[in-house]
């Protein structure tokens, strides 16, 4: 994930965030973005599977673990920007919204979309992760040494 120019690095991080977002949440946030330009399809939304791989012993040679469902699409805004999406699950509208966000982030409206959609999604993802980690931390074992015998 290294050695990317800043524009690609930003794109990589927003596509990753969108891929992992809840469809209903992205839909709610994206509905705040008005006057979305029309788009044409480069690739209509397509549901497929990606074979997830693991490594033997966690660090060795790869093996095939099983598939996950993924929906992808690509579109061009009437203003010319191309948006791509690869999202987890089978929701074509969700993939479309993700691609529209990706495309809009290349326009003059980037700041607005960042604030309306990506910032809240990012903050919520962090909060969800922290909440789970906090519950996990509460189940960490504290060992006590029982002193036995005379001395």
């Amino acid at each position: 994930m290294s050695n990317l120019d800043p524009a690609n690095a930003a794109r990589q991080s927003r596509m990753s965030l969108l891929a992992k977002s809840e469809p209903s949440r992205l839909a709610a946030l994206f509905s705040e973005v008005t006057d979305v330009p029309a788009h044409t399809w480069l690739r209509t939304p397509e549901i497929g599977a990606v074979m997830v791989r693991g490594r033997m012993g966690g660090t060795g040679a790869p093996f095939n673990l099983g598939e996950m469902s993924v929906t992808r699409c690509a579109l061009t805004l009437s203003t010319g920007e191309v948006g791509h999406a690869y999202v987890q699950g089978r929701d074509k509208d969700h993939a479309t919204r993700a691609a529209l966000v990706d495309a809009l982030m290349q326009t003059a409206r980037a700041e607005e979309v960042q604030a309306a959609v990506l910032d809240p999604l990012g903050a919520e993802a962090l909060a969800t992760k922290a909440a789970r980690s906090a519950k996990s931390a509460a189940t960490k074992v504290e060992f006590f040494t029982m002193v036995r015998g005379e001395d």
């Binding site: 994930m1 990317l4 690609n8 794109r11 990589q12 596509m15 990753s16 891929a19 992992k20 397509e46 549901i47 497929g48 599977a49 990606v50 074979m51 997830v52 791989r53 693991g54 490594r55 033997m56 012993g57 966690g58 660090t59 060795g60 040679a61 790869p62 093996f63 095939n64 673990l65 099983g66 598939e67 996950m68 469902s69 993924v70 992808r72 690509a74 791509h84 690869y86 999202v87 987890q88 699950g89 089978r90 992760k129 922290a130 909440a131 789970r132 980690s133 906090a134 519950k135 996990s136 931390a137 509460a138 189940t139 960490k140 074992v141 060992f143």
Partner: protein
């Protein structure tokens, strides 16, 4: 003579309608929603995803509903569905080192860096029925503490530092895929792991248990067990870089096993590995034990003739969909097959009788 018969359409249709009615149950009891199954029957959903070999909690929950809770039937539905999906590509190997752990324990080191984190476990419960759940009780909120910082270090790496454990050889060789090519034996470890991770939990558990009871004993310790979320990253050719395309929950188990050494190697610990979709701890531990048992040859151990050491036996019987397909087909009409058997037996019997009569007459 062979007479083709046709029929049963009406009976089949009516049977399926009745099935739908029985699935729904009494109309005065609220219907289960797919979301309820997904969020409250999570471990069943996890099993269906693992053995269906498709990570999609919504589909797994739907399959469980459709199958009336018969998990093997649900797995069958998922397997059938997954064959309809075009393969978009494959991910980079998931980095379990970076897992956001709900649970992470070691049975080998009490003071393991990162600590013993129990997570939402059945361990240490008393296995007494909780009648509060029969009434609708409020659940107290789970306690929290300052979130854990940083990635959980891998336990086997500590042993690795001292050379006390066999190392995994890093490689990027593309693994064979049993869903794309027919199985061939010897299968090799990557294919074995693929077959085990989607294998029937009961079968893999039974095989693992057999090694503990002495059929191919390999003295396992659970070096580490971790459950949590990992990101799945895939290279996107049209972009020229990789993006995370989702996040999945995995259970990973690494066993540390005794090894007495061989002609070429000094005594050293060896490893078994389990990695399974979802929170599926029993399966991951079982997988690690069976993985280790199947590695006897590469580690220069003796073939004791134990079932769990027999790659072909284990892999060709681990799949519950193959097994149930072949097993259950024998209840379907075999009228013609049986008719021929019947005629054959009658013919042999009448010949035998004729011979007996002839001998008696002589």
């Amino acid at each position: 003579m062979y007479v083709a018969v046709k029929g049963g359409e009406r009976a089949i249709e009516n049977a399926h309608d009745w099935l739908a009615e029985e699935r729904r149950g009494p109309a005065d009891i609220p219907e289960l929603s797919v979301d309820q199954i997904k969020s409250q029957m999570t471990l069943a959903v996890n099993r269906v995803m693992a053995e269906g070999s498709l990570y999609d909690p919504d589909l797994a929950a739907l399959a469980i509903k459709q199958a009336r809770g018969d998990l093997i039937e649900a797995i069958f539905l998922i397997r059938a569905y997954r064959t309809t999906l075009p393969r978009i590509g494959h991910s980079r190997p998931v980095e379990t080192d970076k897992m956001a752990c709900d649970r992470r324990i070691s049975a080998t080191f009490k003071d393991a860096p990162g600590g013993q984190v129990l997570g939402p476990t059945f361990d240490y419960t008393h296995r007494l029925l909780d009648f509060k759940l029969a009434a609708d009780g409020e659940v107290p909120e789970a306690a929290t503490a300052a979130p854990l910082q940083g990635d959980m270090p891998r336990i086997t790496e500590f042993l690795n530092r001292d050379g006390l454990i066999q190392t995994e050889t890093p490689s990027d060789e593309p693994p064979r895929d049993m869903t794309r090519q027919p199985m061939e034996y010897p299968a090799g470890r990557p294919l074995r792991l693929q077959a085990l991770t989607r294998g029937d939990e009961g079968f893999v558990l039974g095989m693992a248990y057999s090694t503990q009871r002495g059929y191919g004993r390999n003295h396992p310790f659970v070096g580490e067990l971790r459950i949590g979320k990992v990101s799945v990253e895939m290279d996107i050719p049209e972009l020229g870089f990789a993006v995370e395309i989702g996040e999945i929950t995995l259970t990973e188990c690494e066993t540390v096993n005794q090894f007495h050494g061989s002609k070429t190697q000094p005594p050293q610990f060896t490893r078994g590995y389990g990695l399974v979709f979802g929170q599926t701890e029993r399966k991951a531990i079982s997988m690690a034990l069976v993985d280790r048992a199947l590695r006897w040859e590469e580690l220069g151990e003796d073939n004791l003739g134990a079932p769990a050491q027999d790659e072909e036996f284990v892999l060709s019987h681990a799949d519950n969909i193959q097994a149930t397909g072949f097993l259950e087909h024998i209840k379907l009409p075999h009228y013609v097959d049986f008719q021929s058997e019947l005629e054959l037996v009658r013919k042999i019997r009448s010949e035998a009788q004729a011979n007996t009569l002839k001998e008696a007459a002589e």
